[in-house]
C-alpha cells in the first residue's frame, strides 16, 4: 500500500491503515519537513475524532485554543457578536485553533512509533501504473509496488497529473497576506474578529484568529498586484500590523501571500488509486473546510482499502469512495463558493448585495444572519450512498411496514420515516 504525500492527510491515511494492520510506504517529495506557519488552523470536532483514532486527537486538542467569542465589524461598526459559553460535555471541543505545523509534527511523532508505516523522503512521484493486481509508483529514483495508492500530494498533485485528470475550477485574482504574530491584544477570552471594509484596509477584509501561545493569525485581503517585499522594505507592513495590534510590541513569526482556488477533480478514484485532500479538491479557507475535509477523505479511504486488500469488499466499495467524498467535496465547494461571492463579489449584483446586507446589519439584526464570513462544516451525510441501507419497508429482510411500526404501543402515532 503506497501513499503519496506526507502531509497531514497522507499521514492520517497511513496511521488509520496501520490501525487496520495494513503496512504503508509514504513517498514525500520534500527531503525534510518544513514545519512553519499556521496555514490551516482550525480542526473541527469530527476531525479530532478521526485524529484520535489515528492516535493524536487528544494531543491536537490539548495543543489548541478554542475561541468562545466572535465579533464582526463593518467599517467602524460592530455588526455581530456570537458567543459559545458552553463547550458541552463531549470528549473534544467543537473545534480548536492550532497551527497545521503542530498537527503535522504530532502526526510525524506518531508515525515514527508506528512500525507499519515507512516514510521515504526526497521521493517525487513521476508516474503511476496499475493493473488488476496492484499499483506501480515511479519516483525520481525508484519504483514502489503496492496494492493501492492514495494520492495525498497536495494541490499540485503529481499523482493526479499521472492519472491525466484535469483540475477544473476557478482562481480568485485578489491575494491574501497572512501573518502569525505574537502580540498582546488585551482580550480576556479567545476571540475571533472579522472586519469588512475597515478604514485601515478599505474595500477589503481582515480576519483575526487566536492561536495558542499568544499568537494571532491575521489574514488581510490585498490587491492582485500586492508586493510583500516592497511593503516590507518601507513602513507599509508595520503600519498594516499596527492598525490591528495597536502600539504594543509584536513579533512576526511567519508571513506568506497566497491566492484562493476553488477546484475539484472530476473523479476521486481511478481503479486502485484514490485522491485525497488538496490533490482532489482545493477551496477557500473561509469555513475551515480544506484540511478538515482532507482528514475525512483519509478516514473514508483507509477502511475501504483495508477491506479491499483483505478480500472482504464487494466490487462497489472502492467506487463508493468517489460517490461519498466527491459529494462532500461538491458541497464544500458550493458553500465556500457562496462565501467567496460575499467576501470577494465578482459581479455588480453580488457587490450590491454585500453592501446592502452589511449596511442594513448596522441597525437590523435580521440582516446579520445574511453576513457570510464562512460556514464551518458538519460531517457530510451519505444518505444516498450505495453503502447505506435504505430505511424503508422491504429494504431489509424482516423489516416491517412503517404502518405496523407506528401502531406499536408507546410509539407516537402518525410519525414515520421520511422515506417510508
Amino acid at each position: 500500500m503506497v501513499i503519496a504525500g506526507a502531509g497531514p492527510v497522507g499521514m492520517v491515511a497511513a496511521l488509520l491503515l496501520a490501525r487496520c494492520g495494513v503496512p504503508t510506504v509514504v513517498l514525500e517529495e520534500q527531503p525534510r519537513r518544513i514545519a512553519v506557519g499556521s496555514r490551516s488552523i482550525c480542526v473541527q470536532r469530527d476531525s479530532l475524532d478521526i485524529l484520535e483514532r489515528a492516535g493524536v486527537g487528544a494531543a491536537v486538542a490539548e495543543s489548541g485554543v478554542t475561541w468562545t467569542r466572535g465579533r464582526t465589524y463593518y467599517r467602524e461598526h460592530q455588526v455581530a457578536e456570537i458567543t459559545f459559553p458552553v463547550l458541552g460535555d463531549s470528549a473534544f471541543p467543537p473545534f480548536v485553533n492550532t497551527p497545521q505545523s503542530v498537527v503535522e509534527l504530532l502526526l510525524e511523532d506518531r508515525i515514527a512509533a508506528e512500525p507499519l508505516v515507512e516514510v521515504r523522503r526526497g521521493q517525487r512521484v513521476v508516474g503511476v501504473e496499475q493493473d488488476a493486481d496492484g499499483v506501480t509508483v515511479s519516483t525520481s529514483d525508484s519504483e514502489v509496488l503496492g496494492s493501492h495508492l492514495v494520492g495525498a500530494d497536495g494541490g499540485h498533485s503529481a499523482v493526479r497529473e499521472s492519472l491525466g485528470l484535469p483540475f477544473p475550477g476557478t482562481s480568485y485574482s485578489d491575494k491574501f497576506l497572512i501573518a502569525d504574530l505574537r502580540a498582546d491584544l488585551g482580550l480576556t477570552v479567545p476571540e475571533r474578529r472579522f472586519y469588512f471594509d475597515p478604514p485601515w484596509n478599505p474595500g477589503r477584509q481582515v480576519l483575526l484568529h487566536p492561536q495558542p501561545g499568544g499568537v494571532w493569525r491575521i489574514d488581510w485581503q490585498v490587491p492582485h498586484d500586492f508586493d510583500l517585499d516592497a511593503e516590507r522594505a518601507g513602513d507599509g507592513l508595520d503600519r498594516r500590523i499596527r492598525a490591528v495590534v495597536g502600539h504594543g510590541d509584536y513579533e512576526i513569526i511567519w508571513l506568506s501571500v497566497y491566492r484562493f482556488h476553488q477546484r475539484r477533480v472530476p473523479a476521486m478514484r481511478v481503479g486502485r488509486v484514490l485522491l485525497a485532500g488538496d490533490a482532489a479538491h482545493v477551496m477557500s479557507p473561509f469555513g475551515a473546510r480544506g484540511l478538515n475535509s482532507g482528514i475525512c477523505d483519509a478516514d473514508n479511504a483507509a477502511w475501504k482499502i483495508a477491506l479491499d486488500r483483505a478480500g472482504r469488499a464487494g466490487p462497489g466499495l472502492l467506487a463508493s469512495y468517489d460517490t461519498e467524498r466527491g459529494a462532500a467535496a461538491e458541497e464544500n465547494l458550493r458553500v465556500t463558493g457562496e462565501t467567496m461571492r460575499f467576501l470577494v463579489p465578482g459581479t455588480d449584483a453580488d457587490r450590491a448585495h454585500r453592501t446592502d446586507v452589511l449596511t442594513r446589519a448596522v441597525t437590523d439584526e435580521h440582516a446579520r444572519d445574511q453576513i457570510d464570513s464562512g460556514r464551518l462544516a458538519e460531517p457530510h451525510h451519505y444518505p444516498d450512498s450505495p453503502l447505506t441501507t435504505p430505511v424503508h419497508p422491504g429494504a431489509v429482510p424482516g423489516a416491517e411496514p412503517a404502518a405496523a411500526r407506528r401502531a406499536l404501543p408507546g410509539r407516537p402515532a402518525g410519525v414515520g420515516h421520511a422515506a417510508a
Binding site: 477491506l307 472482504r312 464487494g314 444518505p383 441501507t389 420515516h417
Partner: protein, 96 residues
C-alpha cells in the same frame, strides 16, 4: 439488555433491546450520518442515533451509521439482518 459486539473487522453492531422509550425525534432519518462516537454509553449512543427499542444498528469503521434495522421480531432474525446490512455496507457478509 444491551449488547455491543464486533462483527468482522471493526464493525460495531449495536443492539438495543431494552424497553427504552426513545426521544421524540427518534424517527429522524439518521442512516448515512456519522454516529457521535464521543458518546461512550451505549444507551446514550442509541438515543443519539435514534435507535428504537428492540432494534439494531450497523456502524461503519469510520463511524457512519450504515443501517438502522427496526423491530426484528425474534432474535433469530438478527443474523440475516446484520448480514444483509454488512453486505450492503461492504459487499462482504459474515454469513457467507
Amino acid at each position: 439488555m444491551r449488547l455491543r459486539e464486533l462483527v468482522g473487522p471493526r464493525f460495531a453492531v449495536l443492539t438495543h433491546w431494552c424497553p427504552w422509550r426513545p426521544a421524540d425525534d427518534w424517527e429522524r432519518e439518521l442512516t448515512g450520518r456519522p454516529v457521535p462516537l464521543d458518546q461512550s454509553a451505549d444507551d446514550t449512543l442509541a438515543r443519539a442515533i435514534g435507535l428504537a427499542p428492540r432494534s439494531l444498528a450497523v456502524v461503519r469503521p469510520d463511524g457512519y451509521l450504515a443501517a438502522r434495522i427496526t423491530e426484528p421480531q425474534v432474535p433469530a432474525q438478527l443474523a440475516p439482518l446484520v448480514s444483509a446490512a454488512l453486505r450492503r455496507a461492504t459487499g462482504w457478509s459474515p454469513a457467507t
